[in-house]
Point group: C2
Chain length 196, copies 2
DNA sequence: CACATCTTGAACTGATTGGTTCAAGATAGG
DNA sequence: CCTATCTTGAACCAATCAGTTCAAGATGTG
């Protein structure tokens, strides 16, 4: 079988992304990637690059895909900040609830592995986390929070969001995850109420 | 050199623990452990067991050591819950601030790697996280929180505490980490105030 | 001094790692 | 039908992995 592309690049990249997402960089071998994508070993190198390059592409793919969703969730921040932040967390909660996808978060996992990742991969992971904070800071300022509160809440919400990755990996139930974000949402609600 | 023990077991275990803590299970080879402990390869197997056994010992060691500190921090929960929770977070923040120790948290890192860890190691990691929640739940109930609030805050505080591991790995500053826990502490303070 | 005890370094096994190469074969366009 | 193009599987490489074994040597005790 040959002549034309035998596989769909997007599907293959998704499969590789999910493999990295589930097992992490260190615990994913090129053979694992071959099995996950259904692609031949040599096809991976010729079409997707070496392990490092491919991981970078998957990380960026992940950040772009869910970054868009987070952006969309926060788009109503100016008119209804509380709903926006709830929607922000929902992006994560729904992703975790999806049985097709691994638990956790590729960015969180990569951040955790930074001391043993290549500099460029580490930089991309940091960048993805930093972008998340920027997103949140902008949304919180667009809401009715003071600059100081917006900064603090941006750090907090980003951190709580990442904590869902750890907790879901450890087998936390949807109810437990909801309790985690609930306290944060209540705190935000309270902060908004006192400033009315 | 021989005849009597040439190395201090406690020092060696600490060195191994720190190596796992920094690089994680998958990214730590037995040679790394040999280098970190200063022990010979064969000494590791004869004195500390194989990689899996040693990792388990390090994980338990870590959980016991910091578990005690968390317990001590929460001991004043009944009389002053807010101070207790602040002290709880301080255990983590001080550990992160210690330049002798890696950033992050061995338990958080192990939890994140659960899908690729051996069942027994995964169980210990889950157990450590579960114990943390029990600790917190007991403390929050001993304070003046309702059962419902205590449950939710226990999940939340445990999660935020773990999030510090991710954020510190990604290079968050002490001020950023403080902002993260600040929102939680404020929320707890608020919850206590409304119930007075 | 001599013995028993323990550590050490080094060698070794078999499996797996990331990475590369290439002949064989299947296909599409001419 | 023929040819140029591409994928495929398999083999190969050097390096590293976890794990084991053992002779050599150093030590404290008797």
């Amino acid at each position: 079988m040959a002549g034309k592309k035998q596989f769909d690049m997007e599907t293959a990249l998704d499969a590789a992304m999910i493999q990295f997402w589930r097992a992490g960089y260190a615990d994913t071998s090129v053979d694992d990637l071959s099995r996950a994508t259904g692609l031949n070993r040599s096809s991976i190198y010729s079409s997707l690059g070496d392990k490092d390059t491919l991981f970078l592409r998957c990380l960026d793919r992940y950040a772009a895909r869910y970054g868009e969703k987070y952006d969309a969730a926060l788009s109503c921040a100016a008119s209804d900040l509380l709903t926006a932040v709830r929607a922000f967390f929902d992006v994560t909660l729904e992703r975790i609830a999806d049985p097709e996808l691994p638990d956790g978060c590729l960015v969180a996992q990569s951040a955790m592995a930074i001391p043993v990742l290549s500099p460029s991969v580490a930089a991309h992971a940091k960048e993805a986390l930093g972008f998340q904070r920027l997103r949140l800071r902008a949304a919180l300022k667009a809401g009715r929070l003071t600059d100081q509160d917006a900064e603090a809440f941006a750090e907090h919400v980003a951190a709580v969001n990442q904590s869902l990755a750890i907790m879901s990996r450890a087998g936390a139930s949807p109810a437990q995850l909801l309790a985690i974000v609930g306290v944060t949402v209540d705190a935000l609600s309270q902060a908004l109420r006192t400033r009315e």
